[in-house]
């Protein structure tokens, strides 16, 4: 009995320093940022940078202004940019990483060499990547000159400076779209729980999902963001940034996939081949399902990198080009250039929530899985 308490004490003492540090430097400052985002810090220039700034509590006013203020259109385009960037970046990085991993896994000569070459970009900082790609994507040089080496006319695409926008939609539809997406996720999770042994939980998911879906399909009654339609869409200038980001990170996902591929027992593939599976079928029915967990991990890692992206965009197109801007850039500019600290804090909290939507479900499922084991 005595030994148990001492063990217990040691464990608590060992954990205590890091717990205190985390409590102050992570959760304490998150709390402080949330509080600042609910104040008017910065609106009165006399208080913005005062020794002891007086901050008045204003509730969710800053958030309301960001999502529906006429002057904050840049924030909304930044959010849309971020969503498009994240989707293409994830799909591109996972896809390219998987292809590279499969090619290397097939036992090419000099595998070690290629593995290193593909992995190297990951060792660079985003600032270096950004600077190199900014040069390569200059409209009159770099990538646009490549076709001329093959005797074709020079490329004309304005990689980072294009002002073209496609897939445009009305910002006012965002609540409905979000509701529909969440509803689909809930329905999927609910259906899975229903089919498993958790009928009750499944049912509640399904009911909430259907209600949310119905609200979304009805056009989101009760919520009006803007009194006029505001067109938002995918800026083609983002393509250059997406390319640079994929170039940097696909080597990393390749390494993840390669490790995972090597972990698949050869017996499984052999068994499949004995059963008459073709090469494609082996991948389709044996290898890919086993890559599921590593894909999820990679998505979490890439997801939070992409939602926080700042340095790459800064070094490629600077702080003020609205077509390629993302919320993290705007957060910095609003807080430290315009002295609107409350606005900056509000953008930070929005980013935190976005990252949380990626990470929390993952933590939840993986922690529950561990307990069950």
């Amino acid at each position: 009995m005595r030994r148990f308490t001492r063990d217990h004490l040691t464990a608590v003492l060992m954990l205590l320093p890091s717990l205190i540090m985390l409590a102050i430097f992570v959760y304490g400052f998150i709390g402080q940022t949330v509080y600042f985002s609910l104040t008017d810090w910065g609106r009165d220039p006399a208080q913005a940078l005062a020794m002891r700034p007086e901050r008045a509590f204003v509730g969710f006013e800053n958030y309301a202004r960001l999502f529906s203020g006429i002057l904050e259109s840049r924030f909304r385009q930044d959010l849309v940019n971020l969503v498009f960037f994240t989707v293409f970046f994830m799909v591109g990085t996972l896809g390219l990483g998987l292809i590279l991993a499969i090619l290397l896994d097939r036992g090419v000569a000099g595998e070690g060499f290629f593995r290193t070459v593909f992995l190297y970009p990951f060792a660079l900082s985003f600032v270096v990547t950004g600077t190199v790609w900014r040069w390569m994507l200059q409209p009159q040089g770099g990538v646009n000159l490549l076709p001329t080496y093959l005797g074709m006319p020079q490329g004309e695409f304005a990689w980072l400076t294009s002002r073209q926008q496609i897939w445009r939609f009305d910002w006012n539809l965002v609540p409905s779209i979000t509701a529909l997406v969440v509803a689909v996720v809930l329905l999927a999770v609910g259906a899975r729980a229903w089919r498993g042994a958790h009928r009750r939980r499944g049912l509640s998911f399904l009911v909430v999902g259907i209600a949310l879906g119905a609200w979304g399909l009805a056009g989101g009654p009760g919520v009006e963001l803007l009194p006029f339609p505001e067109r938002r869409g995918f800026n083609l200038a983002l393509i250059g940034i997406i390319v640079a980001a994929i170039w940097q990170m696909s080597g990393y996902t390749m390494a993840l996939y390669l490790a995972s591929l090597r972990g698949i027992p050869e017996e499984l593939r052999e068994a499949a081949r004995v059963d008459g599976a073709s090469g494609v079928q082996v991948y389709r029915h044996v290898v890919f399902p086993l890559l599921g967990p590593i894909t999820l991990s990679a998505m979490i890692i890439l997801g939070h990198i992409s939602l926080k992206i700042f340095d790459l965009v800064w070094s490629m197109t600077g702080p003020d080009l609205a077509t390629t801007s993302v919320p993290a850039l705007l957060m910095y500019i609003r807080a430290f250039r315009a002295n609107q600290f409350a606005d900056g804090a509000a953008i930070a909290v929005v980013l935190l929530l976005l990252v949380a939507t990626v990470i929390v479900p993952y933590l939840w499922t993986s922690l529950r899985g561990e307990v069950r084991r």
């Binding site: 006429i70 002057l71 304005a158 980072l160 197109t317 600077g318 003020d320 077509t323 609003r334 250039r337």
Partner: protein, 408 residues
């Protein structure tokens, strides 16, 4: 033990004798040598005091200002820091009660007699004078290469109407009429165009809140801007201001509107001779008006070494200090008694204009509007570039002016 203490005391005394002051600025790279010249003058005058030259790189101080703000909020001010005169000084730092009044220094050094009164107004409030200007730059300058203009058979336009008239002919030669760079240079172009379209009186009234940005007169400025943008390069957003200047020097573009640090770049970095290698004129429609911006050093409250910080300011505003700094920086001295023989041909002409011209302030370089408006004005320019709708941009500018309290 006693001996150890004695050593400790001796050591701390030597530390105290070798005082160090921290001067915070964004003058690294091309502008670094000018600051170092000023520091040399200081260290010669005050031996025993060394200067910790704390520069943070990044164009127009975009990063340095952020670092400075976090330091000030954290209660860790440098001994003295670089700040643009005008609203950037007053509406950011003075209004927040972070600066010390320097009226005594202006009296002691006799600066009321050598700094122009208009300039002192820009660094003063009813309660005092808040910084020491070290240089004067001009925002509204048009740059070109005289030999190239001759080759194309054109001359520097005196009005924007003239410019728009020759624009198609220049384009027909396969040359960009006006080289433009990334976003802030668009705002920079706008202030020159607005000055031309409104004239100095109405331009000043924009910043006192007497003239609205969506007044028909101001909308005309945005319309003119829109017309001029049609004569610029499509890849502007990807270029730095130096690259836009390079286009003019290389003959790929005819003109460029940029502050006169461009003269410093062409003279010092590219080695071109003022007058023959590159030529200049007031930006179209602004002859007789000098759009001014200026860097200054102030004394933050709670400076670690107040006494030596004041000595630094003495040197920064002195004849010797400004004349060591400015010829290298490529700017003119704010003092009326400077030795013009130390300055190149461009700077001599700028000094003559500064003495005789009407002065107005620059928006994008901190003089006329608070940092919130200045920073968010980039968004107004994006609206204009994106939609090509002058009325929409003007409306956005007015909404922004109301929200950020321009002229309050």
């Amino acid at each position: 033990m006693r001996r150890f203490l004695a050593i400790l005391i001796a050591a701390s005394l030597t530390v105290a004798a070798a005082a160090e002051i921290e001067i915070f600025s964004w003058w690294a790279g091309d502008e670094g040598p000018a600051l170092e010249a000023l520091i040399e003058v200081f260290e010669a005058k005050y031996p025993g005091v060394t200067v910790d030259n704390a520069t943070v790189t990044g164009g127009a101080g975009v990063v340095a200002k952020a670092v400075l703000k976090t330091r000030m909020l954290g209660g860790n001010p440098p001994d003295s820091f670089q700040v643009h005169i005008g609203k950037e000084l007053i509406d950011t730092w003075v209004i927040a009660d972070r600066m010390e009044d320097l009226t005594f220094l202006f009296q002691e050094e006799g600066w009321f007699d050598v700094f122009p009164a208009d300039l002192i107004d820009l660094i003063s409030t009813a309660d005092g004078i808040w910084s020491v200007p070290v240089n004067i730059h001009r925002s509204n300058v048009m740059w070109f290469v005289p030999a190239k203009l001759e080759e194309w058979g054109i001359s520097a336009p005196e009005t924007w109407a003239d410019f728009l008239a020759i624009c198609p002919a220049i384009q027909a030669n396969g040359v960009t009429p006006l080289a433009l760079a990334e976003n802030w240079t668009v705002s920079h172009l706008w202030e020159s165009i607005a000055l031309a379209a409104l004239g100095p009186d109405d331009y000043d009234r924009l910043w006192t809140g007497e003239l609205a940005f969506n007044d028909p007169k101001s909308v005309a400025a945005f319309e003119l801007m829109n017309d001029v943008l049609a004569c610029t390069n499509a890849d502007a957003a990807g270029l730095s201001w130096q690259q836009a200047t390079d286009r003019v020097v290389d003959g790929e573009a005819a003109f460029n509107i940029m502050g006169d640090w461009a003269a410093g770049y062409m003279f010092t970095t590219l080695g071109l001779e003022p007058g023959t290698g590159f030529g200049w004129a007031p930006s179209p429609g602004t002859a007789g008006v000098f759009m001014v911006l200026s860097d200054s050093f102030g004394l933050p409250k709670g400076a670690p070494d107040r006494e030596n910080a004041i000595n630094w300011l003495r040197v920064a505003g002195s004849l010797e200090g400004t004349d060591a700094f400015n010829p290298i920086k490529g700017s003119i001295s704010p003092r009326t008694d400077s030795d013009m023989s130390k300055y190149n041909a461009y700077l001599q002409s700028a000094a003559a204009d500064f003495a005789s011209d009407r002065q107005v302030g620059s928006l994008i370089h901190g003089t006329t509007a608070n940092e919130n408006f200045m920073s968010s004005f980039a968004q107004v320019m994006e609206i204009l570039l994106d939609t090509g709708n002058p009325q929409a941009a003007a409306n956005a500018a007015q909404a922004l002016a109301l929200q950020t309290g321009v002229g309050r």
